[in-house]
Amino acid sequence: MSKQYETVIGLEVHVELATKTKIFCGCSTAFGGEPNTHTCPVCTGMPGSLPVLNKQVLEYAVAVGLATNCTITQYCKFDRKNYFYPDNPQNYQISQLYLPICRNGKVEIETDAGKKFVGIHEIHMEEDAGKLIHDEWDDCSLVDYNRSGVPLIEIVSEPDMRSAQEVIAYLEKLRMTIQYLGASDCKLQEGSMRADVNLSIREVGAKEFGTRTEMKNLNSFKAIARAIEGERERQIDLLESGEKVMQETRRWDDNKGESYAMRSKEDAQDYRYFPDPDLVPIVLDDAFLEEIRKKQPEFREEKMRRYKEAFDIPEYDIEIITGSKRMADLFEATVALGGQPKKVSNWLMVETLRLLKENNMDPEDIRFSPENLAKLISLTDTKAINSSVAKEVFEVMFAENVNPEKYVEEKGLKTVNDEGALRKTVEEVIANNPQSVEDYRNGKEKAIGFLVGQTMKAMKGKADPGMVNQLLKELL
């Protein structure tokens, strides 16, 4: 291959907003309901029903727009995007074409190649569609409209990215920003964040863009990276063999590692947009924007900077802890309750991460409270429990958010600080293990480890190992 090609990528990212109800009706957005139990005349497109905008959707959309340096459209409207498909009961999707809520933003990303800005063309509000299930037995399709009308924002980037690495950095940036705002949990696997990749290639130095394709069905960062590599290669092969890239929508099959062209929903992508007459214009004054601006949280970069100055914990810990809003909130709240930052960070970095991984959970699923973590740390600080008991208590706390003070009390896990009782046990252990005692006396230092172990066992783990060690040395 003699020619050098540059990959040009723009993304369309759909994010499901964390509202309790749908965008235009009072139906629940909760997951896992029986099919069609979260539906009403509005979200099933019945004639005569009237959609009314959920204010929270607007506030989240504006918050995301402000956080991504967009200009907020202070006179904004909804439009109808017309197409026929059974997952869409109205035969149109309520979306925004002419006056989207946010425009002209940008976010900064960082990769090995350095820092750069990715432009955001626009962000618009729209409704999700229902779910189609194909019934092989009866040769028909079944529709569940529980997702119909769930609020989405679509974030459309400029074609500013040049590599899979930049795409991942951009998505991470969006995810962090939106999670910190509490506007969505942004889980790719579960579909609350979906990315379509628009990709074209051109010879290095060329001014014009090549013909682009749109890739769908990407539900992990790894799949996105593989799809980008695959599509770049496919387009290069086409051009090298004198063929043309067709502008089309393709579906990525991550198992096969290849994509195929989708049949288009219509023979032509002619959506005949027009203003939705059911929904009145949204007029936002400066005071409203200021109110949302005031509610913006401290975002990840600022937080990382502050942690570096305020806490004596490793940079890696800071990166992991601030990588999840839930984790960062938990860390700060526990420290505020008196937990020493280093110790709080250790509990999060070691035991919490281990249990999350073992249980296949995300930091967002953490159930224990900062109060209980602070109590556990205080129990170890005062040597009321030893470290192995603390780990045991932590596991229960992780699973059920138990109050560690009560739990330790109820289960009788407190370290026995009664020297008399401990001395008695140590004496018994010495009496029962003459061989080890002799070994130790003959200079086998290691033999004491066995005796400590036996004592801890006899004490059901409730002794301070340091104290046991000291007593053994004294009595031997």
Binding site: T19, K20, T21, C25, G26, C27, S28, E34, P35, N36, T37, H38, T39, C40, P41, T44, M46, V52, L53, N54, K55, Q56, V57, L58, K77, N82, F84, Y85, P86, L132, I133, H134, D135, D138, D139, C140, S141, L142, V143, D144, Y145, M262, R263, K265, E266, D267, A268, D270, R272, P275, D276, P277, L279, V280, P281, I282, V283
Partner: protein, 97 residues
């Protein structure tokens, strides 16, 4: 009639509307659409210089609802509108992308 609808146009509109038209229906639809466009052209004669495009007849703005669940399960009622029902879902002709 000033507006003449071509065969291609009526074909295309038929595809977009997912309508299968017989040759007679196509001829009728061409005539109907032509006269509708003539009527719109008549409106076009009005001088609208400086008039803002309007999408609503009433000067109403900012109608919102709070994010509170108000709808209970009404599946049974909703499914009465379905062309067919199976396992609590709407049955539609097999549709696959």
């Amino acid at each position: 009639m000033a507006n003449i609808i071509s065969d291609e146009t009526i074909e295309y509109v038929g595809i977009l509307a997912k309508l299968e038209l017989s040759p007679e229906e196509k001829e009728q639809a061409k005539k109907d659409m032509g006269s509708m466009l003539d009527y719109i052209d008549k409106l076009g004669e009005l001088d609208t210089e400086g008039v803002e495009p309007m999408s609503h007849a009433f000067p109403v703005k900012n109608v919102f609802r709070e994010d509170v669940v108000t709808n209970q399960d009404m599946r049974e009622e909703i499914l009465k509108n379905a062309p067919g029902e199976k396992d609590g879902m709407f049955v539609v002709p097999r549709t696959f992308e």
